[in-house]
């Protein structure tokens, strides 16, 4: 009989971990609260740095995890701790007995409407990075004029590095996502003037810096070092965006037709609820706490409970996949040690 391993979350981390665990001879069971697999990546259009279609990545992962038991639209009702295992009751009435729990619960996107001064949900031309990706996928969004925006802007760090929003950490991926989306918009609308308002540009990953240089040199995207302080509407219904250009030390004002807010990564509140069922600790940044933030990221302080992906903090897609593989191996080693 193959050993059951319960994976909470059917995003890319859960799928990749399931694929690896299948190969190692286990029986992974994926519990996913939404009606689709692939999590946030499934709703994305293209991924940096090679503009890979997100659809391809997700379908490859789903194919890899095809043999796993997958429950969609399912949550976890409660968990009973048995002597050396967990009895987990799912919301569809099925109960699973397992020695191993893998949290691959991911993140939620910061609710941009909380930053009222940016006018998300107030003005018609303000959208989030997620809305823009959806538009890339569907071509359907009345906030984007058919002929394209004459002038548009990206606001970095919305709900990231923001203590007022109780989210002081850097979300890691928004800098490069903004540059990627700016380039994509410029490709679609070559005449548009595109601004990026940033505090710091953190181009840490493979080929990110090339992307940034290309945005400046090949696409003429203008970078302004200053945080947007407020957005308002003028008499013609266009957006007036105010910031300080901290490099020249002067206030700047730009009138725009479209503003994209780069909403950051915050810990999924459902994760915290599920983590509470097995009394998992939360780290000082609000994400789940690993046994050690350097050596044992994929292991929780509790026996038999493991992590993969963004439930422990913001991560890129390749980082998440690498961590899912590493979690699968950690689980394998743990089970071998029990015998």
């Amino acid at each position: 009989m193959k050993e059951n391993i319960l994976i909470i979350g059917g995003g890319i981390a859960g799928l990749e971990a399931a694929a690896q665990l299948l190969k190692l001879g286990y029986n992974p069971i994926i519990v996913e609260k939404s009606d689709h697999l692939g999590g946030h990546v499934a709703e994305w259009n293209r991924l940096f740095p090679d503009m890979t279609p997100a659809e391809d990545v997700v379908s490859r992962l789903i194919a890899g995890a095809g043999e796993a038991n997958i429950f969609l639209n399912t949550g976890i009702s409660f968990v009973n701790r048995l002597k050396d295992s967990y009895n987990i009751m799912l919301s569809n009435g099925i109960s699973v007995i397992t020695r191993i729990l893998l949290f691959a619960t991911g993140f939620t996107l910061f609710d941009a409407a909380k930053k009222e001064e940016y006018g998300y949900g107030v003005y018609n031309q303000v959208m989030t990075n997620m809305d823009l990706e959806r538009w890339f996928n569907t071509g359907n969004d009345e906030r984007i004029p058919e002929e394209g925006p004459k002038t548009m802007g990206f606001v970095h760090c919305v709900g990231s590095r923001d203590e007022k929003a109780r989210n002081p950490q850097c979300s890691k991926v928004c800098c490069i996502t903004a540059v990627k989306q700016a380039i994509e918009m410029k490709q679609k609308f070559p005449d548009a003037m595109i601004y990026c308002f940033y505090m710091d540009l953190r181009m840490f990953g493979k080929k990110y810096e090339d992307f940034y240089i290309s945005a400046q040199r090949d696409y003429g995207i203008r970078f302004i070092r200053g945080r947007v302080s407020e957005v308002s509407e003028n008499i013609e219904g266009r957006l007036v965006v105010k910031a300080e250009d901290t490099l020249s030390g002067k206030p700047v004002k730009v009138t725009m037709d479209l503003l994209v807010l780069m909403a950051g990564i915050v810990c999924n509140p459902d994760t915290c609820r599920t983590a509470g069922l097995v009394s998992l600790p939360v780290d000082s940044d609000g994400f789940l706490k690993s046994r050690d933030n350097i050596a044992d990221i994929t292991e929780s302080p509790k026996e038999g409970i493991f992590y993969a992906g963004t439930c422990t903090g913001p991560k890129t897609v390749p980082e998440t996949l690498a961590e899912a593989r590493s979690a699968a191996l950690a689980i394998h080693n743990y089970i071998q040690g029990l015998k």
Partner: protein, 109 residues
């Protein structure tokens, strides 16, 4: 000194070796939040006095950190204490309170 009919203008470089930061250190004790500033410029962009007088909390903090007391104190008189900067600061610094503390410490001399 001999008059050559011209003089060398003083250097505009900031010499941190000669900067007197004793008052700034005192300010840090009273307002530890000042060290959290990441110079994003939200305060200056929100400031209603900025476009008329150049008032800027971001510049004020940098001036103090560089020991440029005279420039900093001059800027203080442009502040109307409206508190808009406090509302927008992403690091949650009480900039209005900070300005009052700076006034207390620096305006004596």
């Amino acid at each position: 000194m001999m008059d050559f009919g011209f003089k060398i203008s003083p250097s505009s470089a900031i010499n941190l070796d000669n900067a007197d930061l004793s008052l700034y250190d005192e300010l840090c004790k009273a307002e530890p939040d000042i060290c959290k500033c990441m110079a994003c410029g939200s305060c200056s962009a929100a400031c209603p006095a900025n476009r008329f007088s150049g008032m800027s909390v971001r510049k004020l903090i940098i001036d103090l950190q560089r020991g440029k007391k005279k420039e900093a104190v001059k800027m203080l008189s442009d502040c109307m204490l409206c508190g808009k900067c406090t509302m927008v600061c992403p690091r949650g610094i009480n900039t209005r309170h900070l300005i009052l503390s700076i006034c207390k410490l620096y305006k004596e001399d």
